[in-house]
């Protein structure tokens, strides 16, 4: 490592260069397990620095909570590809890197003189993960994209929304985060496999394809059964599998006794024991048949009975009482409710994720707990170009030794 410190973290011998605008979550996964991660930024900084949400009412590049979350613990080096001395530095950084996280087409890099094969000729062990909207090949390779385009072209938007309105794109930039995660996993696979496969690789990742992996069984419903899955909106899949209103919002109930799911009988017992009117009518044999439960009349009957029960109860109360009966019921939380959730707080999930000036920031913590090589969040995100001089010095020193 450049600073001479050798931490015994899972990935402390891995060097990652993140040369992307928006895939910081990929390199965050490496950084939080101890890898040496450097953001390579253009003179104006990467887009993630200007990405919402921001602290307070600010809108400036220093106040992005998103950037802090993604970048704490990383270094920042500014590279201006129009400047020869920066090109020398960038080439040297690539020569020493294990993994590159990138979001451009190779044709663009070739124009700039840094295409994968040119870099691999001096560093054959480099694993170069490139995530683009449609991948590097195919008729749409040149198309412009973003989160929404990926969700639309990958088939997720079609499955999301209300029956009486158009398709929707669910919020949270799911396509961007999932593609970043996918890049990290593919990069780790190629990195671990360098001996088996004989060196590094170029990995061409398509956001459209990543999103298509999320379409569940929609393509198989069509090809195996000729059934086109589409957005259901508020309508439940079948009686007992859907969202139902309660006193303070909605709960998601997932109860069946045949096929996928358990707990239908437990739901009926729960309703019966609480004195809900007509609960008994749900235990006749036809209620154990999924086709019957998918009929509109069946769904409406169950909805009436369950809503009568739930409308006087809160979602958290329904969650805890239902789970005590081994029923897969869950509250539909907003971001505040999720942040204040008793279980997540008892587990110490939310943690310090960085700081903006003197304001300490809190956010999601470890996605996994490795007992011997724990996950740790970085202290804070780097300011733009904070490490340019130090990295230049270190790289030139290495170059002289080489």
């Amino acid at each position: 490592m450049i600073d001479g410190l050798m931490h015994d973290k899972a990935l402390s011998d891995v060097r990652v260069l993140d040369i992307s605008q928006q895939l910081g979550y990929a390199s965050k996964l490496f950084a939080d397990l101890g890898a040496d991660v450097t953001l390579v930024e253009p003179p104006g900084g990467i887009e993630a620095r200007r990405h919402a949400p921001f602290l307070g009412g600010r809108r400036d590049g220093e106040a992005s909570l998103h950037f802090q979350y993604l970048s704490a613990g990383k270094r920042s080096v500014v590279i201006d590809l129009a400047v020869e001395r920066d090109r020398v530095l960038f080439r040297e950084m690539l020569r020493h890197a294990d993994i590159v996280v990138d979001d451009r087409l190779q044709a663009d890099w070739r124009r700039d003189g840094f295409a994968y094969d040119e870099v691999a000729s001096v560093n054959p062990n480099i694993v170069w993960c490139a995530v683009t909207p449609f991948g590097q090949t195919g008729p749409r390779a040149q198309d412009a994209g973003d989160d929404m385009v990926a969700m639309a072209s990958g088939g997720m938007a079609w499955l999301t929304g209300y029956a009486d309105r158009g398709p929707l794109v669910s919020e949270g930039e799911l396509a961007v985060y999932s593609s970043a995660q996918y890049a990290a996993v593919m990069g780790m696979i190629a990195y671990l496999g360098r001996e088996a496969t004989g060196g590094g690789q170029f990995i061409d990742i398509s956001m459209q394809e990543v999103v298509a992996l999320g379409t569940e069984t929609a393509p198989q419903f069509l090809t195996l059964k000729g059934v086109e899955r589409r957005r259901l909106g508020e309508d439940e899949r079948q009686a007992g599998i859907g969202i139902y209103p309660c006193r303070d919002g909605y709960v998601l109930l997932y109860a069946a006794d045949s096929g996928l799911g358990t707990g239908w009988s437990d739901v009926v017992a729960w309703l019966r024991e609480s004195g809900t009117p007509d609960a008994d009518s749900l235990s006749t044999p036809e209620w154990f048949d999924n086709a019957f439960k998918a009929k509109p009349d069946s769904k409406a009957r169950f909805r009436t009975i369950f809503t009568e029960f739930a409308r006087t109860r809160g979602k958290q109360e329904l969650f805890e009482q239902g789970q005590a009966r081994h029923i897969a019921i869950a509250p539909i939380n907003d971001s505040g409710e999720a942040f204040n959730d008793a279980h997540l707080n008892a587990c110490g999930f939310f943690t310090r994720i960085g700081a903006i000036s003197s304001t300490e920031l809190k956010g999601p913590g470890a996605p996994y707990h490795l007992t011997e090589t724990p996950w740790t969040a970085g202290l804070r995100a780097p300011s733009l170009g904070e490490h340019t001089d130090a990295v230049r010095k270190a790289m030139l020193a290495q170059k002289e030794f080489a």
Binding site: P139, T217, Q323
Partner: protein, 393 residues
């Protein structure tokens, strides 16, 4: 391309079921790991009975199970039998990874917690990924991907203002966030083992894992006390939405990020003066314009001016012969002894040196029982005795 796959030589004992777990081990299997799935006739993976089914409720007919279990082996072991624990420990002796997605009490009941397995194989990477993690008030709670999305605040952000939330319409956390985190953690533990010689335990809460890759709304709340609501995602855009096109249920998603793109859009529409009007006016004019032509034409016209746009792909569009996904060879077809030749989601990446075509379809229940002597280091007679006891069946 070289013959050897990146994860060749890695052996995974796989107790994961249903969604996120099997997709985690599928990723390992697809890149060359030997993944041995443990189920039994009395307690098969629930997904084997999940729609879409080609027949009538057999265990070998689920399209859902098939796409989640490519390249794996299956052995049928009844974990309720007393001899099962010893057999699994023998399998674990030479394995690299053991994975489960049960709630913590199940592995305890089997006598197969990390300490039990590490006692015979200290190099094992032991992954547990229950819904709610190893501790805390919800540790024994159960749920599916949608339940996890609900608790994590993801489901509630899918929808429109004033309407009940609808989530993504799928069990999203099962397909991407959770298996990808789980796979990354296992791979990182394998990388560390190569240096240290030591295995370790990995505990995942699928709720926590989902939230880590869905941070922005929670960051906003934690710092600013602001609760995000559906319909606010347009921050950072001049115009963004799904627009109706000519024909039944044809739509095009359009995202306009800045003034230059907006001018280009108005040019394409043949209404350059529109760019100076209000957002609502532009939105209305755009809607009228998209409605008058096929979604494909809207997409191509906007893309020719570098405006992010795409037809909202229906399942038939996704698998279309002339589509982008087929051009890249994303879809794969495999022959299955019961289901016949069917369609599988492929791998969302092309590797320059490693093939990404599947080697085998999902295994029949117990299809690889014959390999148990080799896997567990037992004699054929010992395995026959275990079969006679009902441990292997």
């Amino acid at each position: 391309m070289t013959g050897k796959l990146p994860l060749s030589g890695i052996c995974v004992i796989d107790f994961t079921w249903v969604g996120a777990g099997p997709f985690t081990t599928k990723i390992l299997a697809d890149f060359g790991a030997e993944v041995i799935k443990i189920e039994s006739r009395t307690r098969p993976d629930q997904l084997r009975r999940a729609e879409p089914l080609v027949g009538s409720r057999g265990l070998e007919e689920s399209g859902y199970f098939a796409v989640r279990n490519t390249n794996k082996k299956s052995v049928s072991i009844d974990m309720k039998e007393p001899g099962a624990r010893g057999l699994v420990l023998n399998m674990a002796r030479n394995a690299d990874v053991m994975a489960n997605s049960f709630s913590p009490k199940a592995m305890k009941k089997f006598g197969l917690e990390y300490a039990d397995v590490a006692a015979v194989n200290p190099r094992i990477v032991f992954l547990s990924m229950p819904m709610a993690g190893a501790s805390g008030p919800y540790r024994d709670y159960i749920g599916y991907g949608m339940s996890i999305a609900a608790i994590a605040g993801m489901f509630g952000l899918g929808g429109a203002p004033g309407r009940p939330p609808v989530g993504t319409g799928t069990n999203y956390p099962d397909h991407l966030p959770n298996p990808l985190h789980a796979a990354f953690s296992v791979l990182a533990a394998l990388a560390w083992r190569r240096r240290s010689g030591k295995g370790q335990e990995i505990a995942i809460s699928q709720i926590e894992s989902t939230m880590a890759a869905f941070p922005d709304a929670v960051l906003d709340y934690a710092a600013n006390g602001r609760v995000s609501r559906p319909g606010e995602a347009s921050e950072g855009y001049v115009l963004r939405g799904v627009y109706p096109c000519a024909g039944e249920e044809r739509w095009c998603a359009i995202a306009v990020r800045n003034g230059a793109m907006l001018s280009a859009l108005c040019q394409v529409m043949g209404q350059p003066a529109l760019a100076s009007r209000s957002r609502a006016d532009i939105d209305e004019a755009l809607r009228a314009w998209t409605r008058s032509q096929p979604a494909e034409a809207v997409e191509r016209l906007l893309q020719s001016s570098s405006i992010p746009a795409s037809v909202v792909a229906q399942p038939a569009d996704l698998i279309a012969e002339d589509g982008q996904l087929n051009a890249r060879g994303f879809w794969q077809h495999l022959d299955h002894p019961v289901m016949g030749r069917t369609l599988y989601h492929g791998i969302a990446a092309k590797f320059s040196r490693t093939p990404t075509n599947y080697r085998s379809c999902a295994p029949l229940l117990g299809q690889h029982n014959d390999e148990l002597p080799a896997i567990a280091g037992l004699s054929a007679e010992q395995c026959q005795a275990l079969a006679a006891q009902g441990v292997i069946k």
